[in-house]
């Protein structure tokens, strides 16, 4: 258990059953008065922010979170299944918790899955992923309209802007932090 004296930025605790990350902390103590511990915390499942003030004597359960490398297996309905290749243990994550990550998930992609107990609460991807373009308009040679990009759909169904010279069937690199086209994979 943590006490109020352990509170600091970066601490992870459990509150009402959810894991929270302390993102801001200050110790406040008016002259001769009782100490207050002001915190701002982020819910690590849904991202919402919470302000809480604690007093001496209160205690907290540490949130034990574990990050494990897992392989993405498949999607069923709005559930995504990942597997730990060492233990063959599988975890399922709901689409809501995936955020933008679902745009880049191809079977067998290795990702870091954040586990809170048994529950997968988030994933982090490699900064760059390679995905194949499945649909995009042909570039008309001599097009003078001045457009320097066009929409393209990749094999995960994600749609992004790419340069006009990209053709269907080509492999492109996408920056998962911004969701933008990065470069073309030569070959």
């Amino acid at each position: 258990m943590y006490t109020v004296a352990d509170l600091k930025k970066g601490l992870k605790i459990i509150l009402d059953g959810d894991p929270y990350l302390v993102v801001a902390f200050d110790f406040v103590k008016p002259g001769k008065g009782q100490a207050l511990y002001r915190t701002k915390m982020r819910n690590m499942i849904n991202g919402s922010l919470l302000d809480r003030t604690y007093r001496s004597g209160e205690s907290f359960e540490p949130a034990s979170l574990e990050e494990r490398t897992m392989e993405y297996l498949y999607k069923e309905g709005n559930h995504y299944t990942f597997m730990d290749q060492q233990t063959y243990e599988q975890v399922v994550m709901e689409e809501d918790a995936m955020g933008d990550a679902k745009n880049y998930l191809l079977e067998n992609l290795k990702v870091e899955v954040m586990l809170f107990g048994e529950k997968a609460i988030g994933i982090s991807l490699p900064n760059f992923v390679n995905l194949r373009v499945t649909e995009t308009e042909q570039w008309a040679k001599g097009d003078t309209s001045g457009n320097d990009s066009k929409p393209a759909t990749v094999e995960t169904g994600y749609v992004l802007r790419v340069p006009p010279f990209i053709e269907e069937g080509e492999l492109i690199v996408i920056d998962t932090r911004t969701g933008d086209y990065s470069t073309r994979v030569k070959g």
Partner: protein, 302 residues
């Protein structure tokens, strides 16, 4: 490297010394390691051994000097308060205390006004003011005064008595009253505290629910705490015992009673004393909101 902050620190401390020396105050040094501090409900001393603790304030020794007949005293020293660490707190910090015999808290408020003007003139560039959260606070215009009762009504639309009853005093003070005091462009005295918040001070003759205690706020930052001293040893003993009773209730250890202090208190003339946080004064001078910026090393640096 914090070279600007350290120069400013040295200048402020020099200015404080000059101020008290020029007014005939005796600068004293009293032991930092003592057998007993004044037991207070919410102040935890660093206990070194069963018979020694580091001082949380030089108060008791300085009052004993008043009992011996000294009339105007000051001291700049380190104090320790266990587990206090935040943007305005260090477990080990620098305190200025001064005492006047045959005076009450009014005299201390006048001292505060003159001291801050002297510090501003000696350590700030010409025309500069104290700063906090980007606001300027000038000590050169008439300072404001507001009673604790009025401040709670004005800034929280509630009564301080009600807040005390519901255990919300600290919460409302720090979330509503202090931000309210931060809007003043001069320093402000918050005064006449409920008696239960003033363990070592004299009660007001015309209203014993209130104590002759004040806090000096500059830009919403609590800078100093002063009061007319309680001189009745029996009443003081009762308050120490009550503080220990509350501590036990809160799950904190009861603290030893400083007997030699209580004995000497009978001989102490009516007096007034005040404690001012030197680190915070330097924060205001430097215009920084973090105490870390004005000390050579924080505990985390060591």
């Amino acid at each position: 490297m914090k070279s600007n902050a350290l120069w400013l620190r040295a200048k402020c401390i020099k200015a404080v010394r000059e101020f008290f020396w020029s007014r005939g105050f005796l600068e004293v040094e009293t032991p930092l390691l003592i057998p007993a501090n004044a037991p207070e409900e919410y102040i935890n001393p660093l206990i070194v051994s069963p018979t020694s603790q580091l001082q949380t304030s030089p108060e008791l020794c300085m009052k004993r000097l008043l009992s011996e007949g000294h009339q105007k005293l000051f001291q700049i020293c380190h104090c320790w308060r266990s587990h206090e660490r935040g943007s305005r707190h260090l477990q080990e910090f620098t305190m200025l205390e001064w005492y006047r015999s045959n005076a009450d808290y009014e005299a201390l408020m006048t001292d505060c006004e003159e001291l801050l003007r002297h510090v501003a003139l000696s350590s700030l560039p010409e025309g500069a003011t104290f700063r906090r959260n980007g606001h300027s606070i000038t000590p050169f215009e008439p300072w404001q005064r507001i009673t604790v009762q009025d401040a709670f009504e004005r800034f929280s639309h509630g009564s301080v008595w009600e807040c005390l009853e519901k255990g919300l005093y600290e919460e409302i003070l720090t979330s509503a009253v202090e931000p309210g005091l931060a809007t003043f462009h001069t320093p402000v005295f918050l005064l006449d505290y409920p008696a239960e918040l003033a363990a070592l001070s004299r009660l007001k003759a015309e209203n014993p629910r209130l104590a002759e205690r004040f806090e000096l706020y500059v830009g919403g930052l609590e800078l100093a705490n002063g009061f007319s001293e309680l001189t009745d040893p029996e009443e003081q003993r009762r308050r120490f015992i009550e503080a220990n009773r509350q501590r036990s209730k809160n799950g904190e250890v009861a603290l030893p009673i400083p007997e030699p202090f209580l004995t000497s208190l009978a001989a102490m003339p009516p007096s007034a004393g005040i404690a001012l946080g030197i680190d915070r004064l330097i924060m205001l001078t430097a215009g920084t909101d973090s105490i870390d910026e004005v000390v050579a090393f924080t505990p985390e640096d060591l």
